[in-house]
Structure formats: structure tokens, C-alpha cells
Amino acid sequence: MTASLQHPGYDPERLLCVAEKMPCRVSQAGTLLSLMGEPAQYSYPSIFLYGHRSTGKSHVINTLLMDLELPHATVSCVECVSVGLMFERVLLALFGPDTSTLLPRSPSLSDFVRIYRQQAPLSPANQTRYIVIEKAELLRDMDSNLLPVLVRLQELVDDNVTVILLSEIVWDRFRPNTGCFEPLILYFPDYSKGDLQQILSQDIHPSYSPELYSAFINILLGVFYSVCRDLRELRHLVRTQHAQTPAGSGSDTNLKESDTHKLWRNIEPHLKKAMQTVYLRDVSSECSDVVFLSSGLSAHAHVELPYYSKFLLIAAYLASYNPARTDRRFFLKHHGKIKKTNFLKKHEKTSNHLLGPKPFPLDRLLAIFYSVVDSRVAPSASVFSQISSLVTLQLLTQLGHDDQLDAPKYKCAVALDFIRAISRTVNFDIVKYLYDFL
């Protein structure tokens, strides 16, 4: 379906070029164009575009403004650490380099508006000026008066200017307490599966035929679509997975229906494995080949700890996830029965494994450690220093102030699978000692 962009104020050939650059976004571009109107006409003071990441908001706006050669200034809030940077950029883009030097050091909004008002009649606008602000959600964290002024900039500077805000987050979260001028809100819908297929097939790889490539993309989409619909992520995946497909299936020149089946069988296990590492961006694209040659474990499992450190970690895990009153039952030879009162029975629903680790004092850790370690251990500095190195490795987290030297508190920051693997290496059955698995 190729709807075309039409607008009387702009050259139709240029519009055709523009429409080709944005494959599935022609209707949104049409709406924007009709809002912008002819270059000489006034447009609504502010427009708010929202939509998911990689739905083409910046792309459409920037293509429209640049190819139709409209005066505009594009600013990204991520780059503007201070407000002054934003003002400088805008003045530079709209009025030229000399005006941005007119701004005083650490300019306020008042200075910006004043200089704009001075410059506007000097270069009279027969075209609407546009200020595009990306990642507008960061405006909320900047000065509180910045957002209300930007949405009504047209009336404050008395000039034909429109501010376009692009964001992922809906407008309801932007509204200040006492209200502000409401912009016109436009939604950029996400791409459908067919759209994604069409767009991804446009990056043609030279060594593959188009049909094979589109079959490959189909398979990739089938695996990843339920998890991720972000165009940029999918493009990254296509690029990295391309290197992984065995060369044999790629160089087939005679393609039949059965070949797609072969392709599927070859690629599918690679894609499933990619879900574990490449999709999560644990590894960068350069070393993704190395990862696939190895067994595919993530870096986390390659930690080697000394013998006592392992027991310290196990003791820390037990201290974090067992309530203190149950220590007696697990670690003493002659314990009495623990009576469960009514209160305890009612509140046992959420296991500690859902709520997270609890902090424990050093004494408790050492008490559990001494009872868990099978040989007799003398309390020496080497044991204590291993606790500090566990904190440095971020397997334990230290809570409380650094000044509390006599009673430090810790929390265990390790997952159940990891601690199980470690306790297997020292022949310790940790599940028997966990309260939640009784």
C-alpha cells in the first residue's frame, strides 16, 4: 500500500523522494505535513509526538524538515546538560552563529526569549520555524519553568515558531501542577510484523539473494517477535546473526521450498542461543563470534573462589534467606522444637526468595560459617579479609555506614542457581538448609 504524500505548498517531486525514505510511515508524515501547513502559514504553537522507541519519530520529522528545507533547530535533551546549551544550539540553528554569542554566561530563559525577540524581526520569517526537541521526558527534570515556556513559545516571542516535542512517555506524565498550554498530541503507532519484515528486507546483504534473505528475516522475526519489537534491536540481531549462519546454506544457488526448511533447521538453535546472550547485549558485536565458539555460558559463571570463601558465601546466603529464629533448628545439634504460632502461619505466603535478601550482622555470618564448615577453622585475619574481597567482587553488599567498624551489616547478592553450583563444588547440600524449601 503506497499512499503518497501530497500537499499544495510543497514540491510534489520532493515529497515523493521524502516518502520513499520512510517506508511505512507515510500516513503519519501526511498528518504532520497537514498540521504544518504551508510554510508561510501559522501552525499550532506546540506538537507532542509520542510512541515507542524506534517507531521513526525523529526520522520522519528530521527527514521532512531537512528535505523540504524548512528552517529548523534539532536539540536532544540528553546532550544538553545545562539549559544554556539548548539555547545556544537553537539560536545557532535559527539565526546564525553571531546571535548565539549574544547570550550571557549561564543564560536564563528570560535572556533567551529576549534575544529571540530581538533577532526575529531582523530576519523576518516568511516560513514557520521549527524547534524539535528529542527525548523530551528529560525536560521534566530540568528547570520547572522550561517545559511550560517551550509549549507556548509562539506567543511569548511573537513569532511564527512551532515547538515539536518527541518522547516515549505519554503527555499525562508531563503536565505540571498548575497546568500549562496543552500541545496537539499525535501518536506514532508501532510497526506491525509485516512492516518490520518490509523494512528489514531493505538492508540487502550483497552475498545473499533477496528471497533467501527475506526467508531468513522471517525466521528471525518468528523467534524474536514475541520478545522484542524494537526495530533497532532487530536490526542489530540481523547483523550479528548473519555472521553466524553457516556458509553452506548461504551459497546455495538453487532455491526451492525445501531449502527454507534446511535454513530453519540450521539457524534455529543459533537464534535460541542468541536469546541468552546477544539479545541481552551482554557481549558486544565484535566478540560475538568468540562466544558462539565456546559453550555459550555467560561471564558470570567463570568466578573461581578459594575454599573458605565459598563457605563464607554459602553462609551469607543462608543468613540472608533464612529468618534468624530458624538458625537454631538448622545449625545446632540439639535444638528444641520450633512452634509455629498462628501469626507465623498466616504470614508464610511470601517466601524470602520473592522478597529478596535480608541484611544480617557479621556475628551471625561467622556463627553460621563455623557450623557449616566441616573442618575446624581458627578465626584469623585471612578469613576476615576474604569477607572484604567478597564485598569487592559484589557477591556481598555492605550496608550501613563505612564508619561502623565493629558491627557491619551485609546482604548476599547472589542468585539461587549460582549458589547451588558453588555448593555442589564443595559437596554441600544447601537446599536442605534453606527455610523456604522445608
Binding site: 501530497q6 500537499h7 499544495p8 498528518t31 497537514s34 498540521l35 501547513g37 504551508e38 508561510a40 502559514q41 501559522y42 501552525s43 499550532y44 504553537p45 509520542y50 510512541g51 515507542h52 536564563s108 530563559l109 528570560s110 526569549v113 529576549r114 519553568n145 511550560p148 509562539q154 511569548l156 511564527n160 516515549e168 512517555i169 505519554v170 503527555w171 499525562d172 498548575t178 497546568g179 500549562c180 498550554f181 496543552e182 496537539l184 498530541i185 501518536y187 503507532p189 508501532d190 517477535y225 514475541s226 520478545v227 522484542c228 519489537r229 536469546m275 541468552q276 539479545y279 541481552l280 511470601t350 526468595h353 520473592l354 522478597l355 529478596g356 535478601p357 559484589q394 553488599t397 547478592a413
Partner: protein, 419 residues
Amino acid sequence: HLQVQTLLRERLCHQQLPQRPEGVDSQHKHLMELLKRTAVHGESNSVLIIGPRGTGKTQLLRCVLAELLAEEDVDKTLLQVHLNGLLQTDDRIALKEITRQLSLENVVGDQVFGSFAENLAFLLEALKKGDRSSSRPVLFILDEFDLFAHHKNQTLLYNLLDVSQSAQTPVAVVGLTCRLDVLELLEKRVKSRFSHRQIHLLPSLSFSQYLQAVQAQLHLPDTTFPDTTFCYDWNASLKVDKSVEAVLLRHFNSTKDFRSLHRLLMAILCRVSVNNPTIKPADLLDASRLLSADAMTNVLHGLSILELCLVIAMKHLNDIYDGEPFNLQMVYNEFKRFLQRKSNSLYNFELPVVMKAFEHLQQLEVVRPVDAAAAVAARAQREYQLVRLMLDHSQIMEALQKYPQCPTDVKQWAASAFG
């Protein structure tokens, strides 16, 4: 048809002044009288114009000013200072702006010299030296008046109102604000110097007046418009029928002010093009639907299936635990229970993948951490941080209806936690 766009855009977007704003005749007269007393008779005054956003306070003031300045002698002698609470966030900046706008002697080009105290003393002296007969009246217009009340010690307000009380240079202080309780914000000494004159602009149109206003906004002037046949056709097509009335009634019931009306009309105006040169009721329906669509439901439409499942799991947790905050581990647990029931191997994802989806939801502000500062501090173990879901039941169910190719078992799961 080009001229239609130009004309209407001027009216709707650029807030062109109407000849006479509707429905505010008494306020217009009141303000006109006050300003005339300052400008012509040399009497000092202060007044506050109060009204919710979009009801036309600035428009009223500009109309009155335009009418006032139409008189020759007023135009020559009246000095105006326009300040805005959003721009002049500090008394220092405000004072510099006043000095600039009045072109006092300590302004060279654009630079204002001297410290804050010096400037203030200079300004007050300049204002106090005059008298009723020989000095020019000054009109101070303070937009977003409530923001000036947040400055330190309210020095600017105190001084301006003080000057307006003492009989020296005729000074009029006009404040515009959207807060109805603005007087509570003023300090005692400032409040006592204020004349307590308030002009309230409350939207009090009835529905039939509203309909008339809509037609008036879209009406093309017969006399000045070049293409008379087009103009006639256009005005003829502005008849109100049942569907149009229903849509406008819904709009009227949610908000009566003119700004949202202008937004609606602007959205309709965009559909006017060479291909369809007149406005049809269908345009109005479309525009209304576009503007009143729930934003969060739109956002939910673009989520992946895994993220949608997480949202449903959170909804169930909210139902079971009565809105208590939860963390990712609990949500994952709930999701795994669903998977066990359905014996579906399609969605068997590992915790890191689920965590990435969860973080995406956090980025979209569908879920928000309960304690934002602690969330930033504790980078490790994000799966145990407590969060809250920012959607309610109806939004989720509506999103599920519109979700493209939603698997039926997911829909059934959403409908009941045990299905």
C-alpha cells in the same frame, strides 16, 4: 481554499484578537474603566484577573489594551512593562527586565549596570519622584502572578504594590493568574497593599452558546473574503446535526474552555485540503476520537507479548494483594505459574530476558519504583526492587481488546487468574 487555511490558522493558532470577546462584557468594562483611570486620570490601581487556564485572561487584557491605545493621547504617554512569572524567575532578573523595558538611564544598549539593590533604589526613586499631573503613567502587567509570589521575600511585589498605594507616579499593576487561591500566597504586608480588586473569568457558557461559539470560530467573514462562492458554501456547510451535536456535547462536558476547543478545531482544519474543501461531520468525529484516545492504551498496543504477559501478571498480583507494591521476582513467579498451567513451551524465557522486558516497561513508565531515590542507588539486585503498576484494570482490558493477534490463552489468563 488556501486563504481559508491562512485565515483560520491565524485565528486558531496565532490567537488573533477578536473584535470583542464573547461573554465577558462586564469584565471588559470593569478592566477598561480601571485602566482608563490610570492612563487618563492619573490614579494608581492594582487588580488581579483570575481564571482557569484557557478561559481568555490574556486575550481580555490584550483587547482592553488595544482599545485603550486606540486613543491618541493614551498611546503617547502610557508606558508598559510586561513581565512573565515563567521567564522572570527571580527578582533580580525581573528588575533588570523592568529597567530595560522602561529604558531608564542605567541601561546602555541591552546591558543593565549596577547591583540589585542599586537598581531597585534607582527604580523606586524614579517612580516616586513623579506626581499625578506631570509624569507618564506606567502599566505593569504580571503574567503568572502566582509565580512572583514564590520569590524571596516577595520584594518585587511588595515594592510595586507599595508604589501603587502611594500617590506619586500613576502606576497600575495588573496580575493574571490561574490559581483561585492566589491571595493566600501573598504575605500579610503585600496583601494589605493590594487593593483586593479581582476580576474573575469563569467559563459560564451554556451548551447552546458553546455551539454558537463553535460556528462563530469557523465562520468566514463574507465581506473580506475574496472567493465569495467558496465562502458561501463553507458557511453553509457549518450546520449542526445530531452526530456533531453529540460529539460537541461530550467535549463540552469534559472541558468548557476555549483552548481545547481551538485544539479540536485545529485537528479538523488539518483535514481540509484541495481534495476535500469543506468540513464534514465525519471529520469532526475523527478528530474528536484522535484527541480523546487514551494514551496509555496506545502505548500498550506496541508492547511485545512477553511484556504484555508481565503486565497481566502484575494486574493479578494487584488483585490478589490489594495494590501492594511488588518486585520482578514476584511477577516472574506469577508468570511461571501461568506457564505451568498452560504447558506452553513457547514462552519459556529465562530470567534475564524477562528482566530486560521488565526494564523496558520501567523505561516507558508503565511501572514505577516505589522509592525513586533508592532505585537509583541500588544498582545491584534490581529484581528485588519494589515497583507499582501505573495502569488500571480498564486500560489493560481495553488494550487487550485492541492488541493485534493476541493469543487466546493470554486473553483468557487476563480475564481470570485461574483460567
